[in-house]
């Protein structure tokens, strides 16, 4: 077997050194009737060629985003990632190293995490960020837990513009923790009355902008009301590229900013692995979940980096930990940081502008079709359209024509009377031809 260095001779020699006759003597603590006598009922080992053939066959059964016009977002975005980013994360030294528990021989990972934290804090307009979470949805749930810890209250209010699956993740955890969760109804246009829900018994209010439906939300009045009532404002985004063009939540007064970082540096990968961003104010750092990397000095006074504030974590605090999270999303965070380093602030702004422009052109093209209505007045690279009849059936029909047309809202929000809505995204990867193809296909399909 190509991955196993021992020969049978090696094995026999090593057993002799150990002082046993057979390998199963080392398994003698296993109840004899439970020790399997032979291999489990799965195929035998395969050559690399066979495995590659099989995997390629599976991959070929999928329609990749790059295979044609593609306008789906809704929490994961089809962007171009520079080749150098992938090259960097494939370096053995990053790819095959562990969590940097031995900082003296992990400065590569640690310094990149420190750079990551700085970038995330700057992007979100906050003071500090952690070294990443699993993804945007779990980061949102962790933000709610943290808000409960900080405020010592246990009720969360979720905006109707929050991604439905994010909402479910928060609800699931709240339900398990016996916390209360008020989820407002789906709100495509961003005109719900959130302020009415904010009161002194609420731990936090969770608002997404751009919303799941693409609507841009002004967080400032919400932040003001939160301040009055001692409620924490948790601001969520699923499209981090938007921060290149729109006012960051931290600058609008959000207390905790969480979001999905996939768009920068990371492939769509059918939903994971992604990289959750988590940022907040300096005063809350000891209540933050996840890993933190801090600057320090070595014995000779040289600058270096370590994981810090570990006392919050479960391997020290055990049942008193701030979170049960252990792993972060290190390699995805590195991809984010490398891509962000190539972009810089200016590049991100340009990228964001290009995205916005593509989306505006798409909105114009689709809005011009009779029967199609663009629901949102302001948006970034994503918006919702209303179509006559069943949106899900229309999306399927367009898929057969080779066009991935967006997300029918009913897929995630069944039975809400939103069966005529499609959430549509356009990134820098959408060409003029793609946009024209979509418009003419939808026109033909209606």
């Amino acid at each position: 077997m190509r991955y196993l260095p021992h020969t049978d001779q090696d094995r026999a020699d090593m057993l002799r050194v150990i002082g046993v006759e057979t390998i199963d003597e080392l398994f003698r603590d296993v109840p004899a009737d439970k020790l399997l006598k032979e291999a489990v009922d799965l195929p035998r080992h395969k050559s690399e060629l066979e495995v590659a053939r099989l995997m390629r066959r599976l991959a070929a059964k999928n329609r990749a985003a790059g295979d044609g016009p593609f306008f789906l977002g809704a929490g994961a975005y089809h962007h171009h990632v520079p080749a150098s980013v992938d090259h960097i994360i494939q370096r053995s030294e990053y790819l095959t190293s562990y969590t940097p528990y031995q900082p003296e021989i992990s400065q590569g990972t640690l310094q990149t995490l420190f750079e990551f934290q700085t970038q995330v804090a700057e992007l979100t307009g906050t003071e500090v960020a952690n070294a990443s979470m699993y993804d945007g949805s779990t980061a949102t749930a962790e933000a709610v837990l943290m808000a409960c810890r900080v405020t010592k209250r246990s009720k969360a209010v979720l905006s109707g513009g929050l991604h439905p699956q994010y909402r479910e993740v928060v609800e699931t955890l709240a339900n398990m923790e016996d916390d209360e969760c008020i989820s407002l109804p789906p709100d495509p246009k961003g005109n719900e009355d959130l302020l009415a829900e904010i009161s002194e018994d609420v731990a936090c209010v969770v608002v997404q902008s751009p919303s799941f439906y693409g609507q841009l939300i002004d967080l400032k009045p919400i932040a003001a009301r939160c301040r009055e009532t001692g409620v924490l404002l948790v601001a969520v985004f699923t499209e981090v590229v938007s921060l290149g063009l729109i006012e960051p939540p931290g600058a609008q007064g959000a207390d905790i900013v969480v979001g999905e970082g996939q768009s920068i540096g990371n492939a769509l990968s059918f939903g994971g692995p992604y990289v959750g961003l988590f940022a907040t104010k300096q005063k809350y750092i000891r209540q933050m979940p996840g890993r933190l990397c801090g600057e320090t000095r070595d014995r000779e006074g040289k600058r270096g980096y370590v994981l810090t504030l570990n006392t919050r974590e479960q391997h020290i605090r055990r049942d008193k930990a701030t979170s049960n999270i252990c792993t972060n999303s290190g390699l995805c965070a590195l991809a984010f940081t490398a891509h962000m380093t190539l972009l810089g602030g200016d590049g991100l702004r340009k990228l964001a502008l290009r995205n916005h422009e593509r989306a505006c052109r798409l909105a114009d093209a689709l809005g011009a079709i009779s029967g199609v209505e663009v629901v949102n007045e302001s948006f970034f690279n994503e918006f919702t359209i209303r179509v006559p009849g069943d949106a899900a059936a229309l999306v399927e029909k367009l898929a057969e024509a080779g066009i991935v047309a967006g997300l029918p809202v009913s897929r995630l929000e069944p039975d809400c009377g939103l069966d005529d809505l499609i959430v549509v995204a356009a990134t820098e990867t959408a060409t003029d031809d793609d946009i024209a193809a979509y418009a003419s296909a939808i026109e033909a399909a209606l």
Binding site: V17, F27, L58, L268, D298, T308, I325, G330, A338, E428
Partner: protein, 496 residues
């Protein structure tokens, strides 16, 4: 040589990307235009490449040498799996595409799950947890949901003292009361002890969370009786699967009475650790817990694979959702490729070689280092304690740092907590005998050196690493968690 921070290298006007300039158009940002400064400098591509390559050279990695972190299973990461994960049909696939356009992806997840169930002898699997601790949470949530479905509000969870820290953290997060099960003198848990505690908390026992093989590297000999005890008390048996590598294809947790177990794909199934993630923590469930698995579910039907994303859409009673989308697809691809490559025969050999290697290390070191639990064979990792350093001025920490100077990554230190100054060594099946010989010879030399009083070799260590010992206390006391521009040039230079 120090590598500056990118913020110290970058400058305005440089760019590492080229982006098409849009033709004129009317923005629709509704007054949300960014007003705040966005002060992030860029590097050109050559500069960025150099920055990250140079930084990488300050890391230790599996590809450079043995990485014997106990309980972490740092094994070889096949590059085939990286290639496969990058096929456009997997990497460039959106989680919410029409299901007809992602049949291969659903098939892969379904098959990957089937392999995991077969290997563990369990009824079903929740694929979506993002990492080990998340899988634990998933398992314990399904326990809570099952109890709720029974109409019971049990609150007591038994956790052995030797457990991973995530176990009590998870239980506490879900509102359970953690009751510690003390370890026996031989490092294992006695069924009798479990029975006694269950009796004391009669009617309130929700679950036992046990790691097997446990964190002392021992297989729990009474595990079947322990499972029976917890089941008789009306609780469920959660098994921490972090150490699955020791028993892969040799013992099925399902046969031992386990109700739920998370699987670290980034340990046993070799998906790369990547400096701390991403991981993946699929959680296998027994018949009893299977109906409560979280969304999404994937069902194989005559017309192809169905993706069930809402509770309305299925007959099961999912307790909710752990994450947006469907889990760590990129990791499923890698893990599935690993399973196909090894096959049933190769995976069994993996467990045998992993156990063989740990016991070989033990045999080569046990005369010089101290083995707290000599009565049981080790499984995939061997635990020493610091009593062999008693007469010296060297601590476990010093000893570990001295290994760095010899070109090795240290073992896990001070864990598990049940022994003093623990040193937990897990070589994995990826190490050759020659590699283990060099490794153990070096450790022997270090032990001799410590006993001979060459304290400087330890307390001064590491001397040959990119950094000397770092001030972790200072870092925590006054946390500096981000770079901030120096107030003036002069200050910047003074800081260097």
């Amino acid at each position: 040589i120090s590598e500056p921070l990118l913020f110290e290298l970058g400058r305005d006007g440089v760019s590492g990307v080229d982006i098409e300039e849009p033709a004129a158009f009317t923005p629709r940002l509704g007054g949300q235009e960014r007003q705040a400064a966005l002060d992030l400098p860029a590097l050109s591509e050559p500069e960025a490449m150099r920055h990250y390559v140079r930084l990488s050279q300050k890391n230790y990695a599996i590809d450079m040498g043995i990485y014997p972190l106990g309980s972490c299973t740092m094994k070889h990461n096949p590059r085939l799996n990286e290639q496969m994960a990058r096929l456009p049909g997997f990497a460039d696939l959106h989680p919410l595409q029409p299901v007809d356009t992602v049949q291969g992806a659903l098939e892969l997840i379904h098959e990957c799950g089937r392999y995991l169930c077969t290997l563990t002898g369990m009824a079903s699997v929740a694929m979506s947890p993002k990492a080990g601790a998340h899988g634990e949470l998933c398992g314990m949530m399904s326990v809570k949901a099952a109890l709720a479905a029974r109409g019971e509000d049990r609150r007591t969870v038994l956790v052995p003292a030797s457990a991973h820290g995530t176990n009590p953290a998870t239980a506490a997060l879900l509102g359970f009361k953690v009751v510690t099960v003390p370890a026996g003198a031989d490092g294992t848990v006695a069924a009798e002890m479990v029975r006694e505690i269950c009796a004391k908390h009669e009617g309130d026992v929700a679950a036992l969370m046990l790691t097997n093989p446990n964190t002392c590297g021992l297989f729990e000999p009474e595990i079947v009786a322990i499972a029976e005890a917890i089941h008789e008390a009306g609780g469920y048996f959660y098994c921490d699967g972090a150490n699955l590598n020791a028993i892969l294809g040799k013992v099925r947790p399902g046969d031992l009475g386990v109700d739920a177990m998370h699987i670290n794909l980034h340990k046993t199934f070799s998906t790369p650790h990547g400096g701390g993630g991403p991981g993946a923590g699929p959680t296998v469930l027994s018949e009893a817990l299977a109906p409560f698995a979280p969304l999404p579910l994937i069902a194989k039907t005559e017309e192809g694979y169905r993706l069930i994303e809402t509770a309305e859409d299925c007959e099961e009673k999912p307790f909710g959702r752990m994450t947006a989308f469907h889990g760590q697809m990129g990791m499923f691809v890698r893990a599935f490729a690993w399973m196909l490559s090894h096959g049933a025969d190769g995976m069994r050999q993996v467990a045998e070689d992993a156990v063989l290697n740990a016991n070989y290390v033990r045999a080569r070191l046990q005369d010089l280092m101290s083995l707290p639990f000599p009565d049981h064979p080790s499984m995939h990792e061997v635990l020493f304690d610091e009593s062999f350093l008693e007469e010296t001025e060297v601590t476990t920490l010093d000893f570990a740092k001295a290994m760095i100077d010899e070109g090795f990554h240290p073992m896990t230190m001070y864990f598990p907590l049940v022994v003093k100054g623990a040193m937990l060594i897990e070589p994995t099946e990826s190490e050759s005998r020659a590699s283990l010989d060099v490794f153990t010879a070096t450790l022997r030399d270090l032990v001799m050196s410590a006993k001979a009083g060459d304290t400087a070799r330890f307390v001064e260590a590491p001397r040959f690493a990119p950094r000397r010992r770092l001030d972790e206390t200072g870092a925590a006391r006054k946390p500096v968690l981000r770079w901030t521009p120096p107030a003036s040039e002069a200050e910047a230079e003074a800081a260097e």
